[in-house]
Amino acid sequence: MTTAIPTFSKATAAATILLVGSVSWALLGAGLQVLSTLQLLIPALAYVLPIPWISYGKLAPLTTFLFTYGWITSGFLGVLTILIPRISGIPFRYGRILGSAAIIWQVAVLVGLAEILWNGSTGLISMPFSRSVTALFFLSFIVLGTGLSRGLGRSWKSGPLLPRLYLLGALIAFPLGLGTAELLLRGGLAPGALQIMMQFVWNSFVHHLWLTPLALVLLFQLLPVLTGRPVGSLSLGILCWVATITLGGWIGNSLASEGPVPSWLQSAGVVTTLLLGVAVWGNGTLLKPLLEGKWEECRRQVALRFLAVGLWSYLASYAWLAFLALPAVRQTTTFTMVGQATQTLLLFSFYGNVLAGAVYALLPASRMIGWPSHPTLTIHFWFSTIGLTLIASSYALAGFFQGLALNDPGVPMSTISSYLRPFLCTVLVGQVLWWIGQLSFSTLFFASLLKLFPSVAPVAIFPVDYDEQPQPVRQGQH
């Protein structure tokens, strides 16, 4: 139970900065995303308003950048800064330095944003920013990552294992991937087609070896605590962890169809995507039973509700990726809007919902505030869930039609554009709904930070604040 007098952890400032950044970038990104879909839907807009910074060519890479590095990464780092010292019982020490690192991350996102608006994207997949932004990300990561890795603890005799394993993998994969990508793509070390392969590898690192493991840290820690049920089999969990970090970096190449990537690498991509699907299914068998028969709790506890949707989206995203890797499907869907459907599933439904659930669960523990039971909670959940369902399904259908039409040489390109229009309309509706959901979440988030609401008792995730007296975690796997 929480104490009445708030005791602020050293990392509270850092966590708050990261989360405020995350929420703000998401709002901005969602607004710009609506604008970019409008540009695609109504090509005449580009004639009426010929402004370079709001062209589709600028907005599309910009929103992906804001969502990946601003919203999700900053948000994950924020909730982990709250979570990790509490599961290990090792509080952070240098609060100021952590806070500065959190600010540097936001500055990096801001510089990236300005660069893409003014100079445009670099065109590199998942690396639309310049070297200076990479340097800022690195600087911030070194501090935050060191802080988080201290929280892993030296001896792993007690406390949860699976969240630690995923965190360890992510903390090593991110700098390694970013460093090699930077060296090979911009250090002049990789000529020609090797650059394209490196882009696919880096894209896989960002998603499957960095963000997915971080989301799994949260799922494997928070679901057992919130449901009061332990994860069934630790050895299966470890096996799936090994599979996830071994295979995750490979799967980007499954999406390249012919072209510049050697065919054995594409086949390797297909095989690893299918195998990774099996590992994800294994994690599903560990996590799904935690939620069985917990409908009532899911309805009452907003955190659990978002995490549950996040878990389902995790399974759905990787099943979808495995489906897309099948050679026959791949031939139809490469270079189509199916890519946007995948992004919606992975980034928004999986990472986004896990992040929202984690914020709902963890912010009270860090700031000693509760979420008011407010209609805004319901709005956030339903608008974002319905919005994302609309977006993902419209993009997926649009992509399949687009792929079939592209493979029929009798259909001219401008006709294909007109086929896409009805789907883009529903995408637009979905994006507006999601934005409204995000708006209501942000209102609640900022109002709670400013303590504008009368506090309701927060969900007790942690029995005590570990700043005062470190204690081993109450639940989880041992």
């Binding site: 590199l124 590898v201 401008s414």
Partner: protein, 200 residues
């Protein structure tokens, strides 16, 4: 599990990922060389001009890749060749002198790997950048007027002014960005045969 074991597994699997793709990939495509055409004494793929290399960056920065791909697929399972997007499929060697090497993610518009063959004339490409609907009234390709400027026509005839009616004696002139982008688009053609990709 001990932390040391976990650390070992993480490093081993990341090494496997890295070595398996980048190191092996390096031996396969990283050491490709251009083919010397004995008749013309030019290399294939040809080395692009400096202007075209600047244009590649303009192409990336304008986000053309969000709608156009740069990779022609072979005849099995795709209609790229029958659509006239190129004389043959694209292979890794084609990207040898591309800096940055890009492939694109979406085909809202056509593949541009051979746009230099389809629209060889620089004036046509300029007009397309200024206003795609001048060439194709249904075009959904967005205009890029910010790559141009209006200037009062001087006493000497401007060679690169767009062939459009002047307004207030002002002509539409391409900026350096537009010129380099057009040079880049013109440099995109794979009409040379390679040992691994003959033209049938």
């Amino acid at each position: 599990m001990k932390s040391g074991q976990a650390l070992f597994i993480v490093f081993a699997s990341l090494l496997f990922t890295w070595a398996g793709q980048i190191a092996l990939g390096y031996f396969q495509v990283g050491r490709l060389e251009p083919i010397l055409n004995e008749e013309t004494n030019y290399t294939e793929p040809p080395v692009p001009s400096g202007l075209a290399q600047t244009g590649a960056r303009v192409f990336a920065s304008q986000g053309c890749l969000e709608c156009h791909s740069l990779s022609v697929r072979g005849p099995s399972g795709s209609a790229d060749l029958t659509r006239g997007w190129g004389p043959r499929r694209t292979v890794p060697r084609d990207y040898l002198f591309r800096e940055p090497a890009l492939i694109g993610s979406s085909r809202i518009g056509s593949d541009l790997s051979n746009i230099g063959l389809r629209i060889p004339d620089s004036k046509d490409l300029m007009l397309h950048l200024w206003n795609p609907r001048l060439r194709n009234s249904n075009s959904t390709c967005p205009p890029h007027p910010w790559l141009f400027e209006r200037k009062v026509a001087g006493p000497k005839i401007e060679n690169d002014a767009l062939p459009l009616p002047t307004k207030d004696w002002k002509q539409i002139l391409p900026k350096y960005q537009a010129k380099s982008l057009v040079a880049y688009l013109q440099s995109l053609h794979s009409d040379y045969a390679l040992p691994e990709a003959p033209i049938k």
